[in-house]
Amino acid sequence: MKWLTYIWIGILLLITGISIPQCLNTAGEGSFINKTGQQSTLDPQGPIAQNQLDVFYVTLWVTLFLFITVGGALAFATWKFRVRKGDDPDFIPAQSHGHPLVELGLVVGSAALLVVIAIPTFSGILLKDQIPVPEDGEVIEINVTGYQWWWGFEYPEHGIHTANEIVFPAGKVVKLNLKANDVIHSFWLPKLAGKLDLIPGRDNKMWIQADEPGYFWGQCAEYCGDSHAYMLFRAVALSEEDYAAWVVDQQTQSVVGEADYSPVNFEEADKDLVLKGTDLFVQNCARCHSVDPNVQTMGPNLAHFGSRTSIAAGWLENEPENLEHWILHPDKVKPGNFMWKGFPDPYNPKGPPQMEGLKDANLTREDAQALVAYLYSLK
C-alpha cells in the first residue's frame, strides 16, 4: 500500500511538473511569460491599466511576503513539532492557551500591511473615477451602447455611428459614456483600463487613454445571455492625423443614399455581383442594419464595413470566407443570435419575432458571395 501511495504521488508530481512550464509559456501570441496576450492585463498600454497593474504588484509583494512568513511559520511548525519515530505515544505537550502580546503584535502588523495596500488603492480609485480635463480641453467623447451581443459606438461630436470597432486618437483622454440597450454588459479593454459595467437605465462613465498608436482586443465581461462568450470588440488607437482622416472617411457616405443602397465606389468588374448584393441587402438586411453613418438601427451599423478588421463583434477576422460563413450560418457562429432567429417581441418573447431573421431567408452560397462583395465595397 505504501508503494502504491508513493507511485501515485510521484505521478501527481510529474503531471504538476509538466503543467507548470506549459501554463507559463502559453503558445502562440498569447504567452503569459512574454505578456503579449491579446487581452493581457500584464501588458498595459495606457495610464489607467499601468496604474492598476502597479497596485496589483503592491498587493502581490505584500501577499508574497505573507506567504513566506505565515506559510513559512506553518511549514516550520508542522516540521518541528511533528511526532517522530520512537516518541512516547502518551506524551502530552505543555497545554498553553495563548499569548496576548503575540496576538496584538500580529493584529497591528496585519493592519500595517493593509495600510501599504490602502494608500495606492485610494489614489487608484480617484484616477479611474475622475475623468481628467486636459489643458487644451480636447476630450474625445464616445457613446458606447451594449447590445446582445455587440457594441455600438457613436461619436456625437462627429455624427458617426459604427459598431464593434472603436477608434480613437492615441495620447488623448477618451471619455466613454456607457449605456445598455437590453441587459447588463461590461466594457473590458484590459490593455488600457479595468472594466466598467453597462447597466440599463444607468449612465456610467469611464475614460481610457492609449500611450501610443496600437491595436487592442476587448471583451464583454458581464454574462449577458446565450452569446456572451462571443461578444468581443476591437480597439484601434491612431495618431492624431490618422484619426482625423478616419473621422472624415467615416462621415463620408459609402452608399449613394436617398433610399439607394448601392455603393458609391466599386470595381467595374464586380458590378453585377455588387448590385445583386445591394438588392439582397435591401431585402434581407436593411431592416436591422443601416449603412448610413448618421443612422443607428437595431443591429450593428455597417457603414464602412469594408474597412473594419473583424466580424461578429470581434469574433472572426474580416475575411471573405468568414463573412460568407457568418451570413449563411449566424446561429453556428453566435448561438441564439438575432440575425438568424429574428429580433424578439419584448412583450411576447416566445412568439413570432418583431423583425424577421435570416432563418427563413434561405440564402444560397451565391447570395452570400454577392452580399460579401457588396459589403466589401463599403470601404
Binding site: 500500500m1 501511495t5 503531471i15 503543467s19 502559453t26 503558445a27 502562440g28 498569447g30 496576450g37 491579446q38 487581452q39 493581457s40 500584464l42 496604474n51 497596485v55 496589483f56 501577499t63 505565515v70 506559510g71 506553518l74 511548525a77 513539532f81 511533528r82 506524551f91 505543555a94 498553553s96 492557551h97 496576548p100 503575540v102 496576538e103 500580529l106 493593509l114 495606492p120 488603492t121 487608484g124 480609485i125 480617484l126 446582445q148 437590453d182 441587459v183 447588463i184 473590458w188 484590459p190 479595468g194 472594466k195 466598467l196 459595467d197 444607468r202 462613465k205 465581461a221 458581464e222 454574462y223 449577458c224 446565450d226 456572451h228 462571443y230 469574433w315 448561438p335 441564439g336 419584448p346
Partner: protein, 649 residues
C-alpha cells in the same frame, strides 16, 4: 422502555424507529444529520459532474462539446448546486449531528422543526434540479442578475424553478438556524458557560445568526423577481421605473454573508481538529471566537465589493474597499491562532489532520487573492475574470470542502462506530490536493491574461489553451478524488474496523458518548467544569473532572416522531411546482397526456398550500408529545443520584 404518546385515534404518533417509516418520521438530530449528509454528498457529485462537463468543454479553444445554451445552464446549476445543495447542507449535517452532543443535550430545541429543515432541503434540491428534466435549467448564473432574468430576456421557466427552489431551501436554512440558536442558548449542560463551548458550536451559533439576518434579503429579492416575471411589477425593469442595480444590492447583502455562512462552519471544524492532533488546546480561544463574531458582523458591511465595477462612485467604492480590507484582519487572526496551536505541540498526520493543514494553506492563498480583490483598481481588471474563479474556489474547495472532508474523516468513527482506513484516506487526500491545485492555480494566469468568466469558449489566439487544458486535467483528478472519498465513506460504513468511543483521544464532550451515540445521547446529565471537558477527564486534574448526574426515576424525556414535517414539505413542494408551471400548459408538465389547457394557480398551488396548512395545523394539534426511556445502566456507573447532587436535572 416505557412509552406514553399522544393519540388521536388513527392519527397516533408513529412509533416505528426503523425502516422507511422510521426514517420519514424521524425527529432524531443524528438521523437528520445523516440525512443532510447523504443529500449533500449526492448533490456534491451532481455539481461535480456539471463542473467536469464545463471543464471538458473548455479544454480546447472553440470547442463544442456542449452548445452555448447548455453550457450557460451548466455553470448556473453548478454554482447553485454547490453553494445551496452541497456545502450548506453538509455544514448543516455537522451542526445537526455534532452540536447537540458537544453541549451535552439530548436533541435540539425543536425536533420536528429540525425534520422540516431536512425535508425542505430535499424538496428545494429536487425542484431546482427538476428543471433539467424539462430541458429548462436556468441559464442566468448562480447570482441571476436582472434584467437578464426578466420575462423579456428569459421567457422560459428555468428561472422560476430556481426562484422557487431557493425559497424552499431558505425555509430549510431558517428553520435550522432558529433551532440551533435556541438549542445552544438554552440547552447547554450545567456548567457549560459560553466561553467553555467548543469552537465548532460557537461557529454554529454565529452562522445561524448570519443565516437569519441574510436570508430575508434574498427572500425579498426572489419575491420581487417573481413578481416582475409573473405579476407585472417593475422592481428591476427600467421601462417601468425600476433599477437593475437594486437586484445586485439586495442579492449581495445576502450573498456576502452567505460566503461567511459557507466558511465559518469550516473554520469551526478546523479549530476542533488541530488541537486534537497537536495534543494542545486551541491557541487564543477567546480571540478565535471573537474574530468569528467580528467576521460575521463585518460580513454585512462589505457586500458592494462584488459591485466595484458597476460605477458606485468614489465614496461608496472607497468605503467598501476599506471595510473589505478590515475583514482580512480577523481572518488573519484565526490563521495565526491555528499556527499557534500547532506550535509546541505533538503533531500526528492523520487523514483529518492532513485536510486541516491543507485547509490552512489553501485558505491562506484564497485569502491573498481576496486581499487583491479588495482593492478596486486591482479588482477593475480581475472582476468577472478567471482570477475571481480561482479565488473563490481556493476558499470554497481549499477552504470549505477540505474542512468538511476533514470533519467527515474526524467524526466518522463517532457517527458509525467504525474507522476509515488511514492509508487509503491519505492516497485520496493527495489526489484531491494535487487535482485541486492543478485545476485552479492556472486560473490565476487565465484571469491575468484577460479571460472573462461564464464564457462557453475562447479564441485560440488568446493563449489560453494550455492553462485551460491543464486545469481540466486537474479537475478530472479532483473529481476522481472526491468520488473516491464518497465511495470510501460508503464502504467504511459496512466494512470499517470498530473504533471505540474516542479513537483520536479527542477533547470535546461528544467523544464521551458511545460510538455511535445511543438514541438519547447521554444517559446522565454532565456537569461541566472546564473547556475541552473530555481531555480534562482523561488527562486533567480531579478538580476539573466532569460530574455525572443520573436521571431521576421517570427516566429520560425523548421527543415523539411525527409525519407532519414531511407532509408540510410535500405541500410546499407541490405549491412551489404549481407556481413554476402556472400559465404553462398541462402538456408541458405531463408530456403526451397533458393536453393544451393552461395551469392556473388554483390547480396545483392551491392544493399544495392547503396540504401545507393542514400539515401545520395537525403539527400544532399533536402537541410536543414525548415519551420516557431509561438509559443503559452501564452508562450510569459513577453517576451521582439526582437527589444528592444539589444540581437540577
Amino acid at each position: 422502555m416505557s412509552t406514553t404518546q399522544a393519540t388521536y385515534g388513527t392519527w397516533s404518533r408513529p412509533l416505528k424507529k426503523t425502516g422507511l417509516v422510521g426514517f420519514l418520521t424521524t425527529v432524531d438530530h443524528k438521523k437528520i444529520g445523516i440525512g443532510y449528509a447523504i443529500g449533500a454528498l449526492f448533490f456534491l457529485l451532481v455539481g461535480g459532474v456539471e463542473a467536469l462537463i464545463i471543464r471538458l468543454q473548455l479544454m480546447s479553444p472553440e470547442n463544442n462539446l456542449v452548445d452555448a445554451e447548455t453550457y450557460n445552464q451548466l455553470f448556473t446549476m453548478h454554482g447553485t448546486t454547490m453553494v445551496f445543495l452541497a456545502v450548506m447542507p453538509l455544514s448543516a449535517a455537522f451542526f445537526n449531528y455534532i452540536m447537540p452532543l458537544q453541549i451535552g443535550a439530548r436533541d435540539v430545541a425543536f425536533p420536528r422543526l429540525n425534520a422540516l429543515g431536512l425535508w425542505c432541503f430535499i424538496a428545494g434540491g429536487v425542484i431546482v434540479n427538476l428543471s433539467w428534466f424539462f430541458q429548462a435549467a436556468p441559464a442566468i448564473g448562480w447570482f441571476g442578475y436582472a434584467p437578464l432574468t426578466s420575462k423579456q430576456f428569459d421567457p422560459d421557466i428555468g428561472t422560476d424553478f430556481w426562484i422557487i427552489g431557493l425559497q424552499i431551501l431558505g425555509i430549510a436554512s431558517l428553520a435550522g438556524s432558529f433551532n440551533f440558536i435556541t438549542t445552544i442558548l438554552n440547552m447547554r449542560a450545567p456548567g457549560l458557560t459560553m466561553m467553555r463551548l467548543p469552537v465548532f458550536t460557537w461557529m454554529t451559533l454565529i452562522t445561524s445568526f448570519l443565516i437569519i439576518l441574510a436570508f430575508p434579503p434574498i427572500t425579498i429579492a426572489l419575491v420581487e423577481l417573481m413578481f416582475d416575471r409573473h405579476f407585472g411589477t417593475h422592481f428591476f425593469n427600467v421601462a417601468g421605473g425600476g433599477k437593475p442595480i437594486l437586484w445586485q444590492h439586495v442579492f449581495w447583502i445576502f450573498g456576502h454573508p452567505e460566503v461567511y455562512i459557507l466558511i465559518l462552519p469550516a473554520m469551526g471544524i478546523i479549530s476542533e481538529v488541530l488541537p486534537v492532533f497537536s495534543r494542545k488546546p486551541l491557541f487564543g480561544y477567546p480571540l478565535v471566537v471573537f474574530s468569528g463574531a467580528v467576521i460575521g458582523f463585518l460580513g454585512f458591511a462589505v457586500w458592494s465589493h462584488h459591485m466595484f465595477t458597476t460605477g458606485l462612485g468614489i465614496v461608496a467604492t472607497s468605503a467598501f474597499a476599506f471595510l473589505t480590507m478590515l475583514i482580512s484582519i480577523p481572518t488573519g487572526v484565526k490563521i495565526f491562532n491555528w499556527i499557534g496551536t500547532l506550535w509546541g505541540g505533538r503533531i500526528s498526520f492523520s487523514v483529518p489532520m492532513l485536510y486541516a493543514l491543507g485547509f490552512i494553506w489553501m485558505f491562506m492563498m484564497g485569502g491573498f487573492t481576496g486581499i487583491m480583490h479588495s482593492s478596486p483598481p486591482v479588482d477593475a481588471q480581475q472582476q468577472d475574470s478567471y482570477f475571481v474563479i480561482a479565488h473563490f474556489h481556493y476558499v470554497l474547495i481549499g477552504g470549505s470542502i477540505f474542512a468538511l472532508l476533514c470533519g467527515i474523516y474526524f467524526w466518522f468513527p463517532k457517527v458509525t462506530g467504525k474507522l476509515m482506513d488511514e492509508a487509503v484516506g491519505k492516497i485520496f487526500f493527495y489526489t484531491i490536493f494535487f487535482g485541486f491545485n492543478l485545476a485552479f492555480f492556472p486560473m490565476h494566469i487565465l484571469g491575468m491574461t484577460g479571460m472573462p468568466r461564464r464564457t462557453h469558449t475562447y479564441k485560440a489566439e488568446m493563449g489560453w489553451a494550455e492553462p485551460n487544458f491543464w486545469s481540466t486535467i486537474g479537475a478530472l483528478i479532483l473529481g476522481v478524488g472526491i468520488a473516491a472519498v464518497v465511495l470510501q465513506v460508503i464502504y467504511s460504513c459496512f466494512k470499517g474496523k470498530p473504533s471505540g468511543n474516542n479513537p483520536w483521544d479527542a477533547r470535546t464532550l461528544e467523544w464521551d458518548t458511545s460510538s455511535p451515540p445511543k438514541e438519547y445521547n447521554f444517559g446522565y446529565t454532565p456537569i461541566i467544569k472546564a473547556r475541552d471537558q473530555v481531555w480534562e477527564n482523561n488527562h486533567g486534574t480531579d478538580l476539573k473532572k466532569m460530574d455525572k448526574i443520573a436521571p431521576d426515576s421517570h427516566g429520560i424525556h425523548m421527543p415523539d416522531q411525527s409525519w407532519w414535517p414531511l407532509v408540510v414539505s410535500i405541500g410546499l413542494f407541490i405549491a412551489g411546482l404549481g407556481v413554476v408551471f402556472h400559465h404553462q400548459t398541462w402538456g408541458m408538465l405531463i408530456p403526451f397526456i397533458g393536453g393544451d389547457s393552461v395551469i392556473s394557480l388554483l390547480h396545483i398551488t392551491m392544493p399544495g398550500l392547503l396540504l401545507t396548512f393542514f400539515g401545520i395545523y395537525m403539527w400544532a394539534l399533536e402537541g410536543p408529545g414525548g415519551y420516557h426511556l431509561h438509559p443503559d445502566p452501564e452508562e450510569l456507573k459513577s453517576a451521582i443520584d439526582p437527589k444528592e447532587s444539589g444540581h437540577w436535572e
